[in-house]
């Protein structure tokens, strides 16, 4: 009995010592948004889905997909979940689109038509991030929703007998119907955004690397692949072909770490 009392007192003192006020460490309460980011960088578009944007060859015409270079710029917020998981929400203004070179027979020559379409979108994305190792590297997976605001197109025609190249700039979409012999005998112009779906959505897969500058100031390098699931063009026009957005984006962001909330401990 005495022994039992001794052990209880001994461990009781030990425990009390281990939880003395000087050693007490409560988890610091996080803010709902603990990081804010501004970022910008290049957008590389590799749209796909039809013979005017994909690599295509049928023995008569040959289409070569070219990299469409645009930009993206935006704001990001980070909501902490655990020590290694947070949720990144971004709003961004960006250029997507397609660029391609179509080579076809024209009379006794061959003609090259270089087309470039720029789609301007405002996008919102949400992607949980998992911080690896020393929390400098993070991987993220999520989704985005985008709304198109404008479109610009350019076509440059070049052929040996056609004299100087013809440069055609417009707002809208040209679709050509190419006959089996490579001739364009029917084509249509759909002005403005009439032929476009207003919204696009898709998946995000990214990896980021953070560099600490000062106590609350960081740089973030971000590489992200965004894969559109929605047809860029609507089904109101029979001329519209399938095309989906696919962009690989790089950004450099400045991230401001918000200070943690101060712990409020009431000592009774």
């Amino acid at each position: 009995m005495k022994a039992a009392l001794f052990i209880t007192i001994f461990f009781g003192v030990y425990v009390l010592q281990a939880q003395s006020l000087g050693d007490l460490k409560l988890p610091e309460p996080k803010r709902f948004i603990d990081k804010i980011e501004i970022f910008a960088g290049p957008n590389l578009s590799f749209n796909y889905g039809n013979k005017f944007v994909d690599n295509y060859y049928d023995g008569v015409i040959k289409n070569t997909r070219l990299t469409k270079i645009g930009y993206w710029v935006g704001l990001g917020l980070y909501h902490p979940i655990t020590a290694r998981i947070d949720v990144n929400a971004k709003v961004q203004w960006e250029q997507k689109g397609a660029k391609a070179e179509l080579n076809r027979p024209l009379g006794n020559d061959r003609q090259t038509i270089t087309s470039e379409y720029t789609y301007n979108y405002t996008s919102i994305s949400i992607s949980p991030r998992y911080l690896l190792g020393k929390k400098k590297v993070a991987i993220s997976f999520g989704g985005y929703v985008a709304m198109i605001s404008s479109v610009r197109g350019q076509e440059i025609y070049s052929d040996p007998s056609g004299g100087p190249s013809v440069n055609n700039n417009f707002e809208g979409r040209y679709w050509s119907i190419i006959d089996p012999d490579g001739a364009i005998r029917n084509w249509t112009f759909i002005p403005g955004l009439k032929s476009f779906n207003k919204y696009d959505y898709g998946l995000i897969l990214g990896v980021s690397y953070g560099v600490s500058l000062k106590k609350r100031h960081n740089l973030l390098f971000y590489l992200v692949d965004r894969y559109g699931l929605q047809n860029v063009y609507n089904d109101k026009f029979s001329e519209n072909l399938l095309e989906k957005n696919h962009t690989v984006s790089i950004s450099l962001g400045y991230v401001l770490q918000c200070p943690n909330k101060k712990s409020k401990i009431k000592l009774l």
Binding site: Y157, N168, N186
Partner: protein
């Protein structure tokens, strides 16, 4: 009489108003042969866009030719080198938007002209050799039958159009007067040639040609 004049003025006004609001396909220049167009070169056409048409979907259709390029509401067409064929081009308007529904389905005038082509056209009968004394310096007149473009010169057809003649002289021969040798063209169907030193057997070739060298 007054009524008749009023009626005439009304008709004129109506026609001019209708014309100003119609969608017309026009050629950028007038060729040398009215109602005809050359093949295999880019010819510019334009469709007018009256008020209420700027937001329309425009579908172009070309027959006996193909699009070479386009810029705005202008388009360059390369017509096929097909003898006797008609060049046809039209624009159809649709999906003109709210407030302009009345313009949906309207079609421009169909631009139509004869394609001037002498591709694979046969010559009329001609002698295929001329005898000259060997190694003399005598002149030789070569005359071909005149070649005309199919579909020209008849009733309701473009003015009769004769081809130009492209000659190739063999080495050792030149054109009398101009001294031209080798390949050159003439607007007439005959040339006179002479040997530079002395005459030797050789072949002279000729083909009928239009704007950019299409032969018969």
């Amino acid at each position: 009489m007054k009524k008749l004049m009023k009626l005439g003025a009304t008709i004129c006004f109506a026609v001019s108003v209708l014309h100003s609001f119609s969608q017309t396909v026009t050629k950028s220049y007038n060729g040398t042969v009215a109602g005809a167009v050359c093949p295999e070169i880019g010819i510019q056409y334009e469709v007018s866009l009256p008020t209420g048409f700027s937001g329309c979907q425009i579908t172009w259709t070309v027959i006996n030719g193909e699009k070479q390029s386009q810029s705005g509401n202008t388009v360059y067409i390369k017509w096929n080198d097909t003898p006797g064929a008609k060049a046809k081009l039209k624009a159809t308007f649709s999906n003109c938007g709210s407030g302009n529904e009345a313009n949906n389905g309207k079609v421009s005038n169909e631009f139509e002209e004869l394609i001037l082509s002498v591709k694979n056209q046969s010559w009329g009968s001609y002698g295929n050799s001329v005898n000259v004394d060997y190694c003399t310096k005598g002149q030789v007149l070569i005359t071909m039958p005149r070649m005309f473009v199919q579909g020209t010169g008849g009733i309701g057809q473009p003015a009769q159009t004769e081809v130009a003649y492209a000659w190739t002289l063999p080495s050792g021969w030149k054109e009398v007067g101009t001294g031209r040798t080798g390949f050159f063209g003439t607007p007439v169907n005959f040339i006179t040639i002479e040997p530079i030193d002395c005459s030797k057997p050789a072949n002279v070739t000729v083909f009928g040609t239009l704007a950019s060298g299409y032969s018969g």
